[in-house]
């Protein structure tokens, strides 16, 4: 699989503060790549550099083998979709008029149909003719997301796309993003929602203090950081931790033969646990 995006020795210094420090990673074409980190880790700054909104202090980022500093050309802008906290909507216009303008800017065909499609995807078809200033925060976030999808970009950058959403809408959008990904869109997603990352991402990068600390598939990370134990809950509420091996197996046999087991579960760490483990920092 080829890389759609590759970042080398990227560094961003704001006045004196180093926001991104020697960052390296690659994103493969066709994957959903999760960029995880606590507030202030440098997630938004990275997206801004990758999409050509900011030129890095040093280092480079290649998208489609073109430097990010050259992204500001219609030819490349057509291929990317961006949703960040600086993606505003026209508050006096309706949702439809907002999206229609972008259809024109991106030369989208079958505008009406496409607008319905993207609104369907963010579960907002019924607010199509509402004025934007009358929408709730979560609705605004979803309209902004739908706008980023209008032109079917090859590479989609989403900066915390579900941070203001309720679980039902988050789930709706997760399905939509997976569907989009199946059709070939590569997605670069930042989040501090670990469940979202586990569910959606083919690979995740842990970002802390402007550096990528760890990068792998969620399942591999969980296995790598697992302590090889199971927790068994017995009749009477007692909990036992069993280690993988003959000794644990013997115990398990005993419990199960005596019908003592109520439930058992793996002690695989969550991505959140691993993050704390690796960085010594909590995600929120």
């Amino acid at each position: 699989m080829d890389n759609i995006l590759s970042v080398k020795a990227l560094k961003q210094v704001f006045s004196k503060e180093t926001a991104i420090d020697n960052m390296n990673f690659e994103v493969k074409r066709g994957e959903i790549f999760g960029f995880l980190g606590p507030s202030g880790a440098g997630k938004t700054t990275t997206i801004k550099i990758l999409t050509g909104q900011l030129h890095p202090t040093s280092g480079s980022a290649l998208l489609f083998d073109v430097p990010s500093t050259k992204m500001n050309h219609p030819k490349y802008l057509k291929k990317i979709g961006v949703m960040t906290d600086n993606s505003g909507l026209y508050s006096r216009l309706s949702v439809y008029d907002n999206l229609h303008l972008y259809c024109e800017l991106y030369s989208v065909e079958n505008k009406r149909k496409r607008i319905d499609e993207v609104l369907e995807m963010v579960n907002l078809i019924d607010v199509k003719s509402k004025i934007v200033s009358k929408l709730s925060k979560g609705m605004l976030q979803r309209v902004t997301l739908s706008r980023a999808l209008l032109h079917e970009p090859e590479l989609l950058f989403l900066d915390e796309p579900t941070s203001a959403l309720d679980p039902a809408n988050s789930r709706h959008i997760h399905h939509g993003l997976q569907e989009l990904n199946r059709k070939g869109t590569t997605i670069f997603l930042t989040t501090h929602d670990m469940q979202e990352a586990e569910l959606l991402c083919d690979r995740v990068a842990f970002l802390n203090n402007g550096k990528v600390q760890l990068l792998d598939e969620p399942s591999k990370l969980r296995r790598k950081y697992s302590d090889d134990t199971l927790t068994v809950e017995l009749v009477g509420g007692e909990r036992r931790i069993l280690k993988n091996g003959p000794e644990g197996a013997q115990k398990m046999y005993e419990y199960m033969s005596n019908n003592q087991v109520i439930t058992m579960y793996s002690n695989e760490p969550t991505l959140g646990d691993i993050f704390v483990d690796v960085t010594g920092r909590s995600l929120l």
């Binding site: 909104q53 990317i80 993606s87 026209y90 216009l93 024109e104 800017l105």
Partner: protein, 237 residues
């Protein structure tokens, strides 16, 4: 580099819908028209007064409306969306100038009707008005790009109103201060001098100097606008 009229028109069309609900901008459009009414109370309106109102229209409508709608795009984070779209710098700036240009033309015509200004049918006058429109549009775009909010843009407009919109008042003032004579090269006075010359029935060669100064203002402001705009594209905001 391609130029898509469709995209330009889409941005213009958006602005029309948007401004029809924007009382703040709409109310400023009334000002020169009210002034025009005030000045018609005297029977014979001198040329200086006509041009006072014309130049005031350029500053308070062309510069201000343009500055306000660009500053609002920044304030509401919508300019970034335009920048990230495949629309080129020129398409965006042209599209964003359409509304202010339209409002300017409407107000100029209305003011001239009210004050009874006889527009001299001379190519030099048309040319000078056209270049003035462009240069004030560029000035407004710069105003919007260099300020962060509509409020900030309105504040910065005050000194601009004083310099470009005071008409003969400022001219009489600088007559006493030879050091300030360079202010006569401001585009508003050049436009007025040019009109006076044309009205006096002088030949084209007599007005060419004024045209060159106005053209210079136009070119410099347009270049500055594009430079500042391109800087904004990569400011990460």
């Amino acid at each position: 580099m391609s130029f898509s009229l469709k995209r330009v028109y889409a941005i213009f069309n958006k602005d029309i819908k948007d401004v029809s609900k924007n009382m703040f901008v709409l109310s400023t459009v009334i000002m020169p028209i009210i002034l025009a009414f005030v000045f018609t109370q005297s029977e014979q309106v001198p040329l200086g007064t006509h041009y006072f109102i014309i130049n005031l229209t350029f500053v308070s409508i062309t510069v201000f409306v343009q500055g306000a709608i660009i500053a609002e795009e920044k304030e509401k984070n919508t300019l970034r969306g335009l920048m990230m779209s495949p629309a080129t710098t020129i398409e965006i700036i042209t599209g964003k100038s359409g509304l202010s240009a339209l409002l300017t033309v409407i107000s100029l015509v209305a003011c001239m009707r009210i004050t009874g200004y006889e527009f001299v049918n001379e190519p030099a006058i048309y040319f000078a008005f056209f270049m003035s429109l462009i240069l004030y549009l560029a000035m407004g775009t710069l105003l919007g790009l260099l300020t962060r909010t509509v409020m900030e843009a309105s504040l910065v407009l005050m000194p601009l109103l004083f310099v470009f919109g005071m008409g003969t008042l400022l001219l009489e003032f600088i007559a006493n201060y030879p050091n300030l004579a360079f202010l006569e090269y401001l585009p508003n006075y050049q436009l007025q001098f040019l009109a006076e010359t044309v009205n006096a029935g002088q030949a084209f060669t007599d007005v060419i100097g004024y045209l060159i100064v106005i053209a210079a203002w136009m070119v410099i402001l347009c270049i500055l606008t594009v430079v500042v705009y391109r800087k904004r594209v990569i400011d990460g905001k």
